[in-house]
């Protein structure tokens, strides 16, 4: 078992465990923290795939900005374990079963897909994930969508301020 494989399985186990913990935790703050752990694990996967740019962006944007935003909101609302709303047991069971069906069906779908049987995702090598290469493509081929995202951000910002305003 090579180092890459060990890392892969470790990160996968970590991601799945922490993702499960997001659901299991009763306290919303814990959920947020477990989600941050999940994002770190996924960033580790990105590094393993030599997608360095995305790994950094994932940590900065997701684990940093977005999750902090979540935390702020939770703290703002003063949510904690006591007033956490709970679904009844049957609804939970139904949710788990349907989610399980979802997983089963797709797994069996992937298992019967013959053309990806032999395919391999290139790890540790390949430099398309480097900032230099991605940036070149982003500012040449994708410059218009890139500019449009700035408009999207602007409108999102305006929208968030308008809605958050106390009126």
């Amino acid at each position: 078992m090579s180092t890459t494989e060990i890392l892969f399985f470790f990160l996968s186990a970590l991601a799945l465990f922490s993702a499960s913990m997001v659901l299991i935790s009763k306290n919303p703050v814990h959920s947020v923290l477990w989600l941050v752990v999940t994002f770190f694990a996924i960033s580790g996967h990105y590094i393993l795939l030599n997608a360095q740019f995305l790994a950094i962006v994932n940590i900065i944007v997701y684990a940093g900005a977005i999750m902090v935003l979540f935390l702020f909101v939770i703290m703002l609302m003063n949510l904690n374990q006591q007033n956490e709303p709970q679904k009844n047991l049957w609804m939970k069971l139904a949710g788990v079963i349907s989610g399980g069906c979802f997983l089963m069906v797709f797994v069996s779908l992937v298992r019967q897909a013959l053309e990806i049987k032999t395919k391999v995702a290139m790890t540790t090598g390949g430099d398309i994930g480097l900032i230099k290469n991605l940036g070149r493509v982003l500012f040449s081929d994708y410059v218009v969508p890139f500019e449009i995202t700035s408009v999207l951000f602007l409108s999102a910002m305006v929208g968030a301020i308008v809605m958050g305003k106390k009126d």
Binding site: S98, C101, M104, F106, S108, L109, Q112
Partner: protein, 641 residues
């Protein structure tokens, strides 16, 4: 010259368009000039075409293909031959006189309605011209429908009166019944022969089985029954008197009712080959002739008498067709057009003078107030009664002689009808023009001769009524004097060759001629004498008189046998089927949808969680269905084992 034949129907069509579209802006005099002028132009061209045909024979002018589908071509073509050119002359000539007359008769109408009137009149003439000129049954059918439509429009011209509208509707429905027969016959022809063009049909007629030919001719005759007002579809024609009087003249003389005669004369070969139908035609014609004549005796409305007289005369024409005297029938169409147009226009003149009083019991003594109308009316009466040498004598005599040759019973019944014709015509004449005036004082004060636009057509028609018969002088009087027969010979050549010839001895013929003429004169004298001193009485007529006054109760019979059951069925459908079945189905669908949506609405719980659950399950189902292989099940099994 025949190349210009398309102009003949084109002019009235243009007149129709101009008058119809410009009826609100054109002045009355201009409308009158356009309306009459277009017909006059058509008449001039018809004259040229007539002489061209006389000199150069028949031709077919094809304009374009009207219908072109696999194995069937129906060209829009005009048949220019002896028969159609003769009818062209009658239609446009008499049509023109009636248009001219109308400019004065309808002068009290508002300009807008005046324009509408002339537009309809022009369209009427156009349709009839199309009917006569068409070189196949389909084009004929277009005109056939066109005259039906125009008669509807014109009978209901004064549409503010509901009774007139009912009369118009009646005419239309009766015509439709006949049209169905005609249409079926045309389909049958096309089905069997693959063509509707006259020349081809008549050439291939030998291929038809005797059943086919009998059925086709019988169905065509049903069409003729409707259009030419024969038993049992005649009741619309007397009711058609609701329209303005010149319209009646047009319907009775030039257009419309002669269409049936024309059609059978045109298809004479078919009828000659179907002796069964021919006898039917003769019998229906004869029955109509006598039946209508009996009704006419007891009618008191001046126009109704004339209407029943037309029905009766049409019966004679069908009798002629039925006994194979095609020339005689066409001849009678022509002379009848002259004197019947004259009678109607004269009646119109009388009605005009009497301020729309139509009851002859309230007239009388008009002789001294309206000399021109009186003289011309008298000439027309003599003509229709069949007094030599007026036109009606020759044509009626020709038909009766042919009937005598075929079957003496036809002759005697026909002669009885002719005597009745003489009687009711001179009853009408006497009550209207002789004796003392029986109307109100005010009416008497206003009595006057009509303007010249009305009297000129009367005079022209009177001359034609007198001399019109001289184109068909029987061989009895002079050898080869029957110029009409020679002229029309090519049309009826096929039938003449096929039919067996009956010839009477000249001496016998003389006896019949003189005898019938003497009888008619006796009847006329009797009629004049018995009605000269007529005074309106209040006493009810009895026995047969009541039956005749009520037109043999035919309208009531139709009401009881056809109209009321139909109404009952319609009422059943309206009240039961419509209400419970159709409405029930429609409302039921509505209710079902409403119920279903109320149930489905429950799914819209508004709970985001439920929506999510349903979405996920739907994705699962979707994937299972989309990748519907057994392999999924197989792998699912492997997953668990």
């Amino acid at each position: 010259m025949s190349k210009l034949v398309y102009l003949i129907p084109l002019f009235p069509l243009l007149g129709f368009l101009i008058n119809g579209l410009g009826r609100k802006s054109l002045s009355k005099s201009l409308i009158g000039i356009i309306g009459s002028g277009t017909i006059l132009a058509s008449f001039v061209i018809s004259l040229l075409v007539f002489f061209d045909v006389k000199a150069n024979g028949a031709s077919v002018i094809k304009l374009f293909n009207f219908i072109q589908i696999k194995g069937l071509i129906i060209p829009f073509a005009f048949q220019v031959d002896q028969l159609s050119s003769l009818f062209l002359l009658i239609i446009t000539g008499i049509g023109f006189l009636i248009h001219l007359y109308s400019t004065a008769y309808m002068h009290e109408e508002e300009p807008q309605h005046f324009g509408r009137y002339f537009a309809y009149l022009n369209l009427f003439v156009f349709s009839m011209l199309l009917l006569v000129l068409g070189a196949n049954y389909v084009i004929m059918f277009i005109g056939w429908e066109g005259v039906g439509l125009c008669s509807y429009l014109l009978i209901g011209f004064w549409f503010k009166n509901n009774n007139y509208n009912y009369a118009a509707k009646k005419a239309f429905v009766m015509n439709r019944i006949g049209d169905l027969g005609f249409l079926l016959a045309v389909f049958w022809l096309i089905f069997k022969l693959g063509t509707a063009t006259y020349i081809d049909v008549f050439a291939q007629v030998g291929q038809l089985s005797s059943f086919d030919i009998t059925a086709i001719t019988a169905l065509l005759f049903v069409g003729a029954m409707g259009k030419s007002a024969q038993i049992p579809l005649y009741t619309w024609l007397p009711d058609a008197m609701a329209g303005p009087t010149p319209v009646s003249a047009l319907i009775h003389a030039a257009t419309m009712v002669t269409a049936g005669i024309y059609m059978i004369a045109r298809s004479n070969i078919l009828y000659t080959m179907a002796p069964g139908t021919q006898s039917l035609v003769a019998m229906v014609g004869l029955a109509t002739a006598i039946f209508a004549a009996t009704i006419a005796i007891k009618q008191n409305d001046i126009k109704k008498v004339l209407a029943y007289s037309t029905v009766s005369q049409l019966g004679y024409m069908f009798l002629g067709l039925g006994v194979g005297a095609y020339t005689g029938a066409v001849f009678h169409v022509m002379t009848h057009a002259f004197f019947k147009a004259l009678l109607f226009l004269g009646a119109g003149s009388v009605i005009h003078a009497m301020h729309h009083e139509q009851d002859i019991r309230k007239m009388g003594g008009l002789k001294k107030y309206m000399p021109i109308t009186h003289i011309t009316f008298l000439l027309a009466c003599l003509a229709i009664a069949g007094i030599p040498p007026f036109s009606g004598f020759f044509s009626k005599d020709e038909i009766l002689m042919a009937a005598l040759a075929k079957n003496p019973i036809y002759y005697y019944l026909g002669l009885g009808g002719a005597l009745m014709t003489a009687f009711y015509m001179f009853r009408l004449y006497t009550l209207t023009f002789l004796g003392g005036f029986r109307g109100t004082h005010e009416q008497e004060h206003h009595l006057h001769e009509s303007p010249s636009a009305m009297t000129i057509p009367l005079i022209v028609l009177a001359i034609l009524s007198v001399v019109g018969g001289w184109v068909g002088i029987p061989e009895l009087f002079a050898k080869d004097a029957h110029s009409l027969e020679h002229f029309l010979a090519p049309i009826f050549a096929g039938s003449t060759a096929m039919a067996e010839q009956h010839h009477l001895e000249p001496s016998q013929e003389w006896i019949y001629l003189l005898g019938s003429t003497a009888l008619i004169i006796v009847v006329i004298v009797y009629a004049i004498n018995s009605y000269k001193k007529y005074q309106p009485t209040t006493e009810e007529s009895t026995g047969l008189g009541v039956v005749l006054e009520n037109k043999w109760y035919v309208d009531e019979l139709y009401d009881a046998v056809i109209v009321n059951p139909l109404n009952a069925v319609a009422g059943f459908f309206k009240n039961i089927v419509e209400k419970y079945v159709i409405d029930g189905a429609v409302n039921g669908v509505g209710k079902l949808v409403g119920y279903g949506s109320r149930q489905l609405r429950l799914l819209q719980s508004g709970q985001v969680g439920n929506y999510l659950l349903i979405m996920v399950l739907a994705i699962v189902v979707f994937v299972l269905v989309w990748f519907n292989d057994i392999t999924i099940v197989y792998y699912l099994n492997r997953l668990f084992n």
